[in-house]
Symmetry: C2
Subunit: 451 residues, 2 copies
């Protein structure tokens, strides 16, 4: 598996509920309990997650801690919260942040409408932060408003691409083995240096694995381990599985993870994360038009060319009639790209209708939405210059939309009588639409492009 677009699943789509799956024995293939070697029967599990987010990101080489670095103007940690949130069977998500970032974290939760999140204060090290998160979940704490889960997931704030599948697998394995963690093959050979900085020996790559996140534990096991463990462990340790082994004699089950689990560590990882997110929200384009039944619409031609030219993208269409009920469905399924075809006489009416619907939907809360307002021009009827002058109205309007995270551009498509030339115009339009959607650059909003 690759960190490209997940097969069919949308970034914020909700997966099936674990409790439902377990109760009704209707496991989806990827989430089958037997995949993790476990058969938990009919008993639903109670699951919470702890997310240490107190790190300072020194390896990033930037002053902002990496979990707060923006991707498409939204902090990285919000993507990770979104990935956990959409898994409906995780009932609580406890995030450990430093006191100086507490306010910023609260704003993030509010702005991006995160749910089921509790904040605790981070400790000075990763282990201390996790311990604080566990304490908040333990019922023995007098001021805890949370209830103790049977299984607790520990994940990193800087691994935003975790899928429900692997979360499910580690939870089921933890239920059976007491502890479980995701692993990946080693990319580089691991070597042991001698005291004088020379090679002492190298490890046989095939016999070792990289320990990644998420991990899951029976709550009582990992809480016991943290209560028992030494100050040295809390200060210098890095591996929760090791604590469970050392203090509770629990040999964690290791679960093969996908490359998606990688940790955003260096600046290049931020670049990669941004490209992956952009790619994921560019998988579908909805062509919007105001058709009446039986009417031949130029938009249908454009739709056909988009389907042909952009063959990795799903092209759907939505009508503006009936208060856009078609569109409402497409929006609820998280399509972030719209090409609105305006009929020649109406100029911007259809685009304005679409924008009203998008504004009401809150679709742009999590991701910038691209809207390309398409206008056709027959050179026989008007000059390009005149038409452009009319349409420059888009600049002011785009500015307003940008404040709502909607990126609006205009696209004027030449509409010659000649069939072949029309096809060329439409192909050119498809290339420009693809570029606008791919880059999602707010510096280009309000421009009127010509195909």
């Amino acid at each position: 598996m690759e960190p490209g677009p997940p097969s069919g699943s949308r970034p914020t789509e909700q997966g099936p509920c674990l409790s439902g799956l377990l109760g009704a024995h209707q496991a989806a293939p990827a989430s089958s309990p037997s995949a993790a070697g476990a058969e938990p029967g009919r008993c639903p599990l109670s699951v919470a997650a702890v997310l240490p987010a107190g790190g300072c990101g020194e390896r990033m080489g930037v002053p902002t801690p990496k979990q707060f670095c923006p991707i498409l103007e939204r902090p990285l940690i919000s993507y990770t919260l979104q990935a956990l949130e959409r898994v409906c069977w995780i009932k609580d998500i406890v995030v450990a942040v430093t006191s100086e970032n507490m306010e910023a974290m609260n704003s993030i939760i509010q702005k991006y409408q995160h749910k089921r999140i509790s904040l605790v204060e981070a400790g000075g090290t990763r282990h201390r932060s996790i311990f604080n998160g566990l304490k908040a979940l333990a019922e023995d704490q007098p001021d805890s408003k949370l209830s103790k889960p049977e299984v607790v997931i520990i994940h990193d704030a800087v691994r935003p691409f975790v899928e429900e599948d692997v979360l499910f697998k580690v939870v089921i394995a933890a239920k059976e083995h007491g502890a479980a963690g995701a692993i990946r093959p080693l990319v580089s050979t691991v070597i042991s240096p001698s005291a004088d900085g020379c090679l002492d020996h190298s490890l046989e790559r095939a016999r070792y694995r990289a320990s990644e996140m998420p991990q899951a534990f029976l709550f009582d096991v990992i809480y016991e381990a943290y209560q028992q463990c030494s100050d040295y462990d809390l200060e210098f340790g890095t591996e929760c599985l090791q604590l469970a082994l050392k203090y509770c004699h629990t040999n964690a089950k290791l679960v093969e993870g996908s490359p998606d689990l990688w940790k955003v560590t260096y600046k290049r990882d931020l670049y990669a994360a941004e490209s992956i997110i952009k790619e994921r929200i560019s998988q579908e384009i909805c062509v919007v038009m105001d058709t009446k039944e039986g009417e031949e619409h130029i938009g249908l031609l454009l739709e056909a060319v988009l389907k042909c030219e952009l063959n990795h993208v799903k092209i759907t269409s939505g009508a503006l009639q009936h208060a856009g009920s078609d569109l409402q469905r497409i929006i609820s399924e998280q399509c972030y790209n719209f090409v609105c075809v305006n009929v020649m006489t109406s100029d911007f009416q259809d685009t304005q209708k679409l924008l009203s619907i998008l504004e009401e939907s809150n679709l742009s809360t999590l991701y910038p939405v691209v809207v390309v307002s398409v206008h056709f021009l027959d050179f026989k009827l008007a000059t390009l210059g005149q038409k452009m002058e009319n349409l420059m109205w888009i600049r002011g309007f785009a500015k307003e939309m940008k404040r709502r995270n909607i990126l609006l551009c205009g696209l004027l498509v030449c509409y010659p009588q000649d069939e072949q030339k029309l096809q060329e115009s439409l192909k050119q339009a498809a290339i420009i639409i693809a570029a606008l959607i791919k880059e999602r650059n707010s510096g280009l909003v309000g421009q009127l492009l010509v195909a």
Copy 2:
């Protein structure tokens, strides 16, 4: 150090010569022999490099082997060759490619004008490919046209960001110790699984390192090791340092490398590499205008605003007079971004002059060059529509330029009499210019944007 833009150094700039440095004792700070703990004296070293490039890139999840995946339409391996080539003291670069990719590799060498490259046939494994490369360098081979180097560098085709500094360090260390390799701290904890897929033990992260590339060896040491080593090693081994240790009892010196050394392994790494390369070639913008001495030029205003708004970018200026001798220098120093300011009456004359100079320079052989043709418009003198109509000529011209890897866009800047409004127009122009340079998307060429 971060994989961001190297301090002051351009992507293709040539570094100082090792032989020169060693002979004249004029080592640059970063390349000081003492940095590697060695003092090689006055004797110049002869150095060659071997690059195994026969892999199939199965982890990438794409059919093209990763070393041939395009970044800005140029294959990844060409960037790596460029990184080695610019180090003038590496006299030969031997690349091992499979017979089926031999022709493609020859085209790459020709198209991107690579020098000092010899091709050999790759073996079935990484070690066999390296061995083939070493054989070509050994003088005992009857048909070898290459001469045996004192030290040989082994590098990966998929690590394009290697800097001269670390190459120098491993070469000097290899001269002293017989072998040397770059290392990095571990990002994840390394664990050892038991036979039943559970955690057996985890390694103390601080005591181990990831072995990266480049590595360097006394030629006789590594060639001897490959001649001695078993079929099992050739088939399943991954670590050259281990061969030198096992067969020649040479404990390699380990050299701390920068994060730049990372290996393009997954699709996300291609995304990261593309972003890093785009960032590196977007560090400088040259504002081009046809000024006469003492003349007040609107271009100077734009230059001032660019300096103020894009404060991570170096803004230079070049004049078109005297056959563009100013410009020639800027081009020779590898600036890949030009903003050409046309005076109101001339329309495209200045941009055309600039494009001729760029075409002659071959600057766009390695990277796409962005040219923004800026035109000012006083609304009192002409309507936007009229002006745009005149300038739509740019579309045809941009198409032609695109074939030469020059990405041309037009930018019409409103020039109101009001000082404050003019500043706003210029700021808007800076935002658009920054977006065009950042994205470098060929789908947007020929567009006429409005600020």
